[in-house]
């Protein structure tokens, strides 16, 4: 379950329109645009809602999170950015129609453990790496 999926589509559409009409300038980022900056969003994967209570013993679900938002200059205002993301942003500023902005993506990911039955009613406890977004940033 994730919030604001429709909103994201609309926002992307309006962002594209904005980008085609004007090139962003450094001092042009006001508070309303900062709200759309790359950040961690809440996303809960519910094993219960998927109807898997008969084979997954624990957990009932997990907060996976996801990263979404604009990677716009200055990148380091709100989150980590790779050195290359800064270069990518500069190139995007020079060629906005040809070069995309850096990507908003996870910078740190955590593991979760899942306890479940197999077909033979044996029980498996397995650690799955890179399942939970701990922080987002621009790449």
């Amino acid at each position: 379950a994730a919030g604001g999926k429709k909103k994201n589509h609309n926002r992307n559409k309006s962002t594209n329109q904005q980008e085609s009409s004007r090139a962003p300038k450094t001092g042009d980022y006001n508070t309303s645009e900062q709200k759309q900056a790359c950040k961690k969003h809440e996303l809960y994967v519910s094993f219960r809602d998927l109807g898997w209570q008969d084979w997954i013993i624990a957990p009932e679900g997990y907060a996976a999170f996801y990263c979404d938002g604009e990677c716009s200059f200055p990148l380091n205002a709100h989150m980590n950015a790779t050195n290359h993301a800064i270069v990518q942003t500069l190139v995007h500023l020079m060629f906005p129609d040809n070069v995309p902005k850096p990507c908003c993506a996870p910078t740190k990911l955590n593991a979760i453990s899942v306890l479940y039955f197999d077909d033979s009613s044996n029980v498996i406890l397995k650690k799955y790496r890179n399942m939970v977004v701990r922080s987002c940033g621009c790449h």
Partner: protein
């Protein structure tokens, strides 16, 4: 479609999934979990069995450890099923630290042989170790069996409980066995007995055709064979929460990649 569970952050927004969306998400999550299909475990009431209880205890130990390291789930992971196990030892927590996967196996022997040709009492156990996912290597394995208070005629004596690997079976004589581990216990004691069968489990994983099972015997210290039931050993006819099982700890032997779609 509001979800009011305490474990879920209040700002999460939920909507009911359409059937095809649910199927799609189920397919994707199964792929992430590395499972070809949704498991269909058999036998009702299995959740209250000893192995799931033990495994849930390990799961909780793992969750606490991850939280302490600050790398765990942002929300306390509540189990789907309620249990109250207390089987974990420091011994298991050590194995846990090093394990990528832990798996418990149910005993497959339907009929126990309580008496051999040489009038020796023993009990037989078999576990199918062929269902282990690819790329996993056994780092430790334990056979766990519950012993209740022995029959009153054995009061105040010490019993030796031994576990053997069955090496070869014969039609008209006792099987050839190899001693794996033994424990000395007071007849009046009750609790879980844990036997190290790491080497045997590794052998069975590599040579499944040689997996002929385990034999358990109980003797007095002077070597007299003791009836398994009288000694208080719980077998298949005992309560679900005290059923014997095998638990194995695994370490991934390589980086496994999901298949390209």
């Amino acid at each position: 479609c509001g979800f009011t569970d305490n474990h879920v952050h209040s700002s999460f927004i939920y909507r009911r999934l359409r059937n095809h969306e649910r199927r799609e998400i189920q397919r994707e999550i199964l792929s992430i979990l590395g499972l070809p299909h949704r498991p269909r475990p058999f036998s009702p009431g299995k959740q209250a069995s000893s192995a799931p209880l033990f495994m849930l205890d390990l799961y909780n130990a793992m969750a606490v450890e991850e939280e302490e390291e600050g790398v765990a789930q942002p929300y306390r992971a509540a189990p789907l099923l309620g249990h109250s196990p207390a089987l974990t030892s420091a011994h298991d927590t050590n194995f846990l630290n090093d394990a990528d996967m832990v798996m418990s196996f149910v005993n497959l022997v339907e009929k126990d042989k309580d008496f051999s040709h040489q009038r020796r009492h023993f009990k037989e156990f078999r576990f199918d170790l062929t269902q282990i996912p690819d790329g996993e290597a056994v780092t430790a394995a334990e056979f766990r069996i519950y012993k209740d208070r022995s029959h009153s005629r054995y009061d105040n004596i010490t019993l030796k409980v031994s576990i053997y690997q069955v090496v070869k079976e014969y039609q008209n004589k006792d099987a050839e066995t190899f001693l794996l581990d033994s424990k000395k216990v007071q007849a009046s004691d009750g609790g879980w007995l844990v036997f190290d069968i790491t080497a045997t489990s590794n052998h069975w994983v590599m040579n499944p055709q040689q997996n002929l099972g385990l034999q358990l015997c109980v003797e007095t210290v002077d070597g007299r064979s003791v009836n398994i039931k009288s000694a208080g050993i719980i077998g298949r006819n005992g309560p679900q929460s005290k059923q014997p099982f095998l638990v194995a700890f695994f370490k991934a032997s390589g980086v496994l990649l999901r298949s390209v779609r």
